[in-house]
């Protein structure tokens, strides 16, 4: 695909040039008027001392009297950045800045990128814990597996604000949304759908867990890695028990039929496949798809090149094919999940993000796609269909209320309108800055 490579090369060049021109992608802007410097005595000393004292008496007030209610940190140690691998915290920064920009633009969330020079899991745990007073939530990003599992599990338990790991939960949520939509189109029910996962990295391990919460039968899930089908008789089980208990747990709970062998064996009679293994093409023989059930659903999520080309999967009988790429139909993209999910979690002041909240987000996205008229080539909304975001935020917030982990309770309609107002405000602010040329157009 020489054409695609040329396009990517061009984007690489532009990104470096523009990054230099703008000096990064985000900045901090006050949210209060400064009519004259006299206002400083309200926003800062002496006035601010009273605000401080109020919060000292009641810490909860930090969510009302400071921007904490709408501010999260994006924390990364830079060990697993995009497809680049371990590039370190400095090099992870442009990616985290980009993430912060998306958070603001699509979700109206203030996200502060914090790339840290701490790499052991206890160290990162302590760092994030120490930052809790300043933030309303945490988005862990691009941290290698299995460290990321440990961090998410333990920070979720220990902190009183939502902690999210986008590579796990965001991908799981987006994948589930795509699956639910595809299953509706092909007349499948979660409880009877056999799903095969290729790759057992953070994304697929998390997706398998989320699927079991969403009504799929975990025994009907089969996971395949480079050593073949995951099953409890495998030689590497004890190694997994010690070093990756999350995968170990899945090895015991999934694959009720106790299939052994290769991907080919796993795909026989499968309804859906979720591949998040490694860049393709030709990652596995396309003929394997033939063994799947009629109207098979095939997600090929490796970046930058899917495991096999989507048209190959279609030629082998797949009915619905999705990838991680924006230039093919059906992009399974975390950006459809995380901005709205955090919007909903922050607006309801949820103390955590439960798996059920993720399922609520995915279901809402699938519902939206269905109501708008989904097709084989359009199973999930794109980021352009931004009216889906307030819907998702409201669904997430209501779920938090239902689960009694929310401090704020409103009707779905009010959550929706509130989210819409905040997200719209964020977009309007940016467009006002562009119109007034305070943000310039990029150089030619």
């Amino acid at each position: 695909m020489p054409k695609k490579n040329e396009k990517t090369e061009e984007l690489y060049k532009l990104a470096v040039r523009y990054s230099k021109f703008y000096g990064g992608k985000i900045s901090v802007t006050p949210s209060v008027p400064v009519r004259s410097l006299d206002d400083f005595s309200i926003w800062y000393t002496p006035g601010v001392a009273a605000v401080s004292r109020a919060i000292e008496k009641k810490h909860e007030l930090s969510f009302e009297l400071t921007s904490r209610w709408n501010t999260i940190a994006i924390v990364s140690d830079g060990t697993r950045v995009l497809g680049l691998g371990n590039v370190g915290p400095e090099a992870a920064m442009p990616v985290m800045e980009g993430k912060a920009m998306i958070f603001k633009y699509l979700g109206g969330v203030n996200a502060v990128p914090l790339t840290v020079n701490v790499h052991d899991q206890q160290g990162i745990f302590n760092t994030v814990s120490a930052l809790e007073p300043a933030f309303g939530g945490f988005n862990l990003e691009d941290i290698e597996s299995p460290k990321c599992f440990y961090l998410l599990d333990n920070l979720r338990k220990s902190l009183k604000v939502p902690v999210w790991h986008d590579d796990q939960q965001g991908t799981a949520g987006a994948t589930l949304a795509g699956l639910l939509s595809s299953m509706r189109m092909t007349g499948r029910k979660p409880s009877q759908t056999k799903v095969v996962f290729l790759g057992t990295g953070a994304a697929n391990v998390a997706t398998a867990r989320i699927l079991s919460v969403a009504g799929f039968d975990i025994g009907n899930i089969v996971m395949v890695d480079s050593k073949g089908v995951l099953n409890p008789d495998r030689d590497d089980m004890d190694e997994l028990m010690l070093h990756n208990p999350w995968k170990y747990d899945l090895a015991i709970k999934t694959n009720g039929e106790r299939i052994k062998g290769s991907l080919k064996d796993a795909l026989k009679g499968a309804d859906a496949m979720v591949a998040a293994s490694g860049p393709g093409p030709n990652r596995f023989p396309k003929e394997f798809i033939k063994g799947m059930n009629k109207d098979a659903i095939v997600f090929l999520l490796a970046n930058p090149v899917p495991e096999i080309w989507p048209w190959e999967a279609k030629a082998m009988g797949a009915k619905i094919v999705a990838t991680g790429r924006s230039d093919f139909p059906n992009q399974v993209n975390n950006s459809i999940i995380f901005p709205a999910l955090f919007r909903g979690a922050l607006d309801s002041r949820a103390s955590t993000i439960t798996d059920e909240m993720i399922v609520a987000a995915s279901s809402e996205i699938a519902k939206y796609a269905y109501e708008k008229g989904s097709t084989e080539e359009h199973i999930i909304p794109t980021m352009k269909e931004w009216e889906v975001y307030p819907n998702v935020a409201a669904a997430v917030a209501r779920k938090a209320v239902e689960q009694k982990i929310a401090k704020h309770s409103m009707s779905a309609k009010k959550f929706h309108d509130n989210a819409e107002r905040i997200i719209e405000g964020s977009r309007m602010t940016l467009s006002a800055l562009i119109k007034s040329r305070l943000i310039k157009m990029p150089p030619q």
């Binding site: 025994g219 409890p232 008789d233 030689d235 004890d238 190694e239 010690l242 009720g256 039929e257 106790r258």
Partner: protein, 160 residues
């Protein structure tokens, strides 16, 4: 889905179990290897495990117990019966190999199997019971502590 529906059954090992038991010994030794490089298994581990377990099954100075699930051997416990030279009580049963397949762990199977072995050894006149396992195996440390065992001897090693 498959899972543990009924409890495991425990019985003495037979000659017919040797192949499966040898595989379990290999798994155990590979697990031990995870804890310390000085426990790296030798290349001919399969061969030595087989001959080791095949003679153990016949040996009067040790016991070999298997755990079965629906007729399939899924666990192994081998203990040596020893005479203590300088201390009392004198008759000791020392657990040397103890392994249950991952799927059949938890649900109290380890405790059950241990108790089965202890009962058997008691009948054979054993007065105290010990267990050998890698120092770094925290899971075993916790397991035996819960069963009332405490460390009495340390073996420290270094490569030459």
């Amino acid at each position: 889905m498959a899972g543990v529906e009924s409890k495991l059954r425990y019985r003495d090992a037979r000659n017919g179990d040797v192949d499966t038991l040898a595989e379990l010994v290999v798994r155990l030794k590979r697990l031990n290897e995870e804890f310390d490089s000085m426990l790296t298994v030798r290349d001919d581990i399969k061969v030595v495990s087989r001959s080791y377990i095949s003679s153990a099954v016949k040996d009067k100075n040790c016991i070999v117990i298997v755990a079965e699930y629906k007729g399939k051997v899924v666990g192994l416990l081998k203990a040596d019966l020893r005479e203590r030279r300088f201390s009392q009580p004198m008759r000791e049963g020392r657990i040397i190999e103890f392994y249950i397949m991952p799927e059949y762990r938890k649900h109290g199977s380890g405790t059950e199997m241990l108790h089965h072995a202890i009962e058997k050894m008691k009948h054979m006149g054993v007065q105290m019971i010990s267990a050998e396992f890698p120092s770094q195996n925290k899971i075993s440390v916790q397991f035996y502590a819960k069963q009332g065992f405490r460390p009495i001897t340390n073996i420290h090693s270094k490569l030459l």
